[in-house]
Symmetry: C2
DNA sequence: GTTTTTTTAAAATAAATGTTTTAAAACGTT
DNA sequence: AACGTTTTAAAACATTTATTTTAAAAAAAC
């Protein structure tokens, strides 16, 4: 049934994700993408509809393959030790990341530049991760691992902010020394 | 001699800075700028040469009017109390900022998108503020206000990272609760 | 081997964007 | 009021960018 594709959809999406991650949506042209991925322009439109469709796939890929696995540990362990493992993993992993920041968070302030679908996707993602952390903290509170007087929702957003806004967003990756400090700070805050 | 300008250069630069700050260099078109500033296209090219020239002026304005005054306190007091006043000022001021992040830091990872002059400007700015903090910390060390065993250069970059990467970069401005926490964390780190 | 289906390469189109030009309007100077 | 200079408005131009079209190439199905 027809000529087979000469490209791998997954490989294209992954490469496109890298480019979008590196430059941002608006600063990435379709030409950039076809150059970097080797994908043919027509094939790109056939496969993804338009530039935003590909960006949307890139966001999915990011969620499923880059950030998702990091949160997996928190899904499997929605409790204090899950939070601790999650943070240790993220804070240590931050040093070896290729690109800077969180692809989603990087586009959070660009609602007028990325399309409405992407805006929704980013919003849903933020709500999702915050909820994950919140649930784990809530359970930790039930288990008596963090004080009953703590504002769990507030702590959750604080943690998400630190993780995505600062550590994943480590533009200054040469300054790795701050990473264990943030880890200590958060754990101290949780335990105090 | 000749028709006087109907615009104020300063007002134009300030408005342009806002737009660049809000959208980023690449996602801001010259049309956006002339619409927002009311400046005539030809006047813009006469006055600033090209888009990058205007961006460069915007960076200068940001440095001189937005960030500069924040660091003034550190220039006038290159010592421990200067650091403390500076941090308090920045951390409290962060809540009321109109736009998100540091205009310079926002473009740090966009070396291929902004022109070479702007890249230099951003680099110089980063070196400059780091040096300011470092000098103050060095003096604080001489004064015996922070321990002699502290790595002052490391602390300086940590502080700059926190201030610009996190607090000024407060995309999540609804989560203001973390601001005093960062302040406490840094002061505690300095004093411990 | 012909047909059928789909990909691909390259050119074509259309819109946005950066920049320049042209001529008219505005103002100070004489 | 005429002159010289500069701004301004609008159109023109060139380039980039997103998207579509066209026809040739490639492989599967019959």
């Amino acid at each position: 049934m027809g000529r087979p594709k000469s490209y791998s959809r997954d490989a294209v999406v992954e490469k496109a994700m890298s480019v979008f991650w590196q430059n941002g949506y608006k600063a990435t042209s379709v030409s950039d993408i076809v150059r970097e991925t080797g994908l043919n322009t027509a094939s790109m439109y056939k496969e993804f509809g338009d530039k935003e469709g590909l960006f949307s796939e890139a966001l999915h890929h990011y969620r499923d393959h880059i950030i998702g696995p990091r949160y997996r540990i928190l899904i499997d362990n929605p409790n204090m030790s899950g939070v601790e493992m999650f943070l240790r993993n993220v804070f240590l992993g931050a040093a070896k990341k290729e690109y800077k920041g969180c692809l989603m968070m990087n586009h959070l302030a660009q609602k007028n530049v990325i399309g409405p679908d992407a805006v929704k996707q980013v919003g849903a993602f933020c709500a999702e991760i915050e909820s994950l952390v919140e649930t784990a903290l809530f359970n930790a509170q039930s288990d008596g691992e963090i004080g009953p007087e703590k504002d769990v929702a507030q702590l959750a957003s604080f943690i998400v902010f630190c993780v995505h806004g600062t550590v994943l967003y480590g533009r200054h990756d040469e300054k790795k020394h701050m990473i264990p400090k943030f880890y200590d700070m958060i754990m101290q805050e949780l335990r105090s």
